[in-house]
């Protein structure tokens, strides 16, 4: 029943291949969707041209492409992209760290849970984005206020999922630790936390989407820079092509972020059967 070293190496290699295959499958998928995208752009271009749709209603893809090029060439998009990207990522990271930490404390201590949980339930139904104007008043028009808004919007799914994940640990694993006389912290670190990881990641996946949303809406409410700010400006100038150009940048940003999330997930959760 023993396996030699080469076979073990083979298994390790196949696990790596498994991960690579996921990448290649997704690249085939993205080729297909890219094809669909090109088709759509062509039809759009022809239709706008044929029906003489005015630019301030619906610009042609070519006009959007030109606007996109100009935006990057002038450096305008670059600067504003970095502003929004910073807000989004900083707010998201804050939400991830604080959300997991609070979730851990709530799940570990009965008293804290009793006090905090009713508030969480009440707050969960509240649209967090509605407090954006307040935050702008308190924290100003700069980047800081947006980081706070993003963190507030993104923290809830992380928090709730962390609590759920930490509490979902099956009794058998806890019994095992207990039979060894493991302390609370040791059990948390070696069993509860890793066991909660799939839940935490599910929360992070929702949080990253909300983070972009919070960033843009925050800028809508009050800002000096950022992609959302650019959209507002273009809106005032009826520069619809630029609005679309910014939306393209935002779309690509969102896709890149969720790709990074998925890569992190398959790296940390390779052992989780329900994912593969």
């Amino acid at each position: 029943m023993s396996l030699d070293a080469t076979a073990a190496a083979e298994i390790l290699a196949s696990r790596k291949r498994e991960r690579l295959r996921w990448l290649s499958v997704s690249s085939v998928d993205s080729l297909i969707s890219l094809g669909g995208f090109v088709m759509l752009a062509l039809v759009w271009e022809v239709a706008v041209d044929l029906f003489k749709v005015p630019d301030f209603i619906l610009p042609a893809p070519s006009a959007i492409a030109v606007s996109l090029y100009n935006g990057f060439a002038s450096g305008l998009f670059v600067y504003n992209f970095f502003v929004t990207a910073f807000q989004t990522i900083a707010g998201f990271l804050l939400a991830a760290v604080i959300g997991t930490a609070i979730g851990a404390v709530v799940a570990q201590f009965r008293i804290v849970e009793r006090i905090v949980y009713p508030w969480l339930v009440a707050l969960q139904t509240l649209p967090k984005i509605a407090i954006a104007p307040l935050i702008i008043i308190w924290a100003g028009y700069g980047i800081g206020s947006k980081v706070i808004i993003v963190a507030l919007v993104a923290i809830f799914p992380v928090l709730v999922n962390t609590i759920m994940g930490l509490k979902s640990c099956d009794q058998g694993k806890l019994d095992l630790m207990r039979s060894l006389g493991a302390g609370r912290w040791e059990t948390f670190r070696t069993v509860r936390l890793p066991n909660a990881l799939p839940f935490i990641f599910a929360g992070l996946n929702v949080a990253i989407v909300l983070a972009i949303l919070g960033s843009i809406v925050g800028e809508f409410v009050g800002s000096k820079a950022g992609l959302g700010n650019l959209i507002l400006e273009a809106n005032f100038q009826f520069d619809v092509a630029r609005i679309f150009a910014v939306l393209v940048v935002l779309g690509v940003f969102g896709v890149v972020l969720s790709l990074i999330m998925r890569m992190a997930q398959s790296h940390f959760l390779f052992w989780n059967k329900s994912l593969s």
């Binding site: 023993s2 396996l3 019994d175 095992l176 039979s179 006389g181 890793p194 052992w271």
Partner: protein, 278 residues
């Protein structure tokens, strides 16, 4: 060794003496152990009633009994997983319950940590008990080889079959070198064929490590095949109806299953279980 038929009305059982066993201080002693659970609805469940047991060093003892009769409860008490119970437990000379590093437990589910490699899973008790790293590592490798999983050290639980996972959990239960090994229906989830192989393998491991084994099983055949002594429990509240010494020679072999003597034991145990049920 004593056999009792404490049950009122039951015919007293004939004693099978197992002459080779040296008489030494028992590793595990239970005196009048009683357990009452409080249920969520406010009622009580009388799970165990006055259990008296003595398990000696290097002895292989099995427990059989109807479902819900308190076998797992008994094992959990010995394993230090139940807080309140009546009576006295003495384990390796230490009185009272609570976790003991002299015990290794194999649960019905392998209970491996899926994010840890096989080697890391086997090393878990050593980590928790802060044992010497080098020595534990060497021992873990030895045990992995003993359970027939050499070469699988760096694999993860999801890459293993159910039987392999249970073997990992046996290696894990032994890594801190406890003198008592508790097993709660370790092969319940396995198919009959794998189960037979595992039975033989556990006997081999037992022979190599000389642990005191306390095993719960639903299979009379398994109990007879593996044990020095089989304890029969009554339905709830669980009591010890009888203890039957299995005087079959060792090492045991699968071919013994068809022997007449073997059949006599299984028949005897089945009758005892039936008496307990009505």
């Amino acid at each position: 060794m004593i056999i009792m038929a404490a049950m009122a009305g039951a015919t007293p059982f004939i004693v099978n003496t197992h002459a080779q066993k040296p008489v030494s201080a028992p590793v595990v002693t239970l005196n009048d152990v009683t357990k009452v659970y409080e249920t969520a609805s406010g009622g009580t469940v009388h799970a165990l009633s006055k259990i008296n047991l003595a398990i000696h060093g290097a002895e292989f003892v099995s427990v059989i009994g109807a479902s819900g009769c308190g076998k797992t409860t008994l094992l959990r008490i010995i394993g230090g997983l139940e807080d309140g119970f009546g009576g006295e437990l003495v384990l390796s000379g230490r009185k009272g319950g609570g976790p003991s590093r002299d015990v290794g437990i194999v649960f019905q589910d392998a209970n491996l940590l899926p994010w840890r490699s096989i080697l890391q899973n086997v090393l878990l008790p050593a980590q928790v008990l802060r044992l010497d790293k080098q020595a534990s590592l060497a021992r873990a490798h030895e045990l992995i080889e003993l359970v027939g999983l050499k070469g699988f050290e760096d694999k993860y639980p999801f890459e293993l079959s159910g039987g392999m996972r249970q073997r990992v959990s046996i290696a894990r239960a032994l890594v801190h070198n406890p003198s008592v090994l508790l097993m709660d229906e370790p092969f319940g989830a396995l198919d009959a064929l794998t189960r037979e192989t595992m039975n033989a393998e556990v006997l081999k491991i037992w022979d190599a490590t000389k642990k005191t084994v306390f095993m719960i099983t639903h299979s009379i055949t398994e109990a007879v095949f593996m044990s020095d002594r089989v304890i029969v429990m009554s339905p709830r509240p669980g009591r010890v109806i009888a203890e039957v010494d299995i005087a079959l020679p060792r090492p045991r072999h699968i071919s013994m299953l068809s022997e007449e003597k073997f059949g006599a034991y299984t028949g005897k145990l089945r009758r005892l279980l039936d008496v307990g049920t009505d």
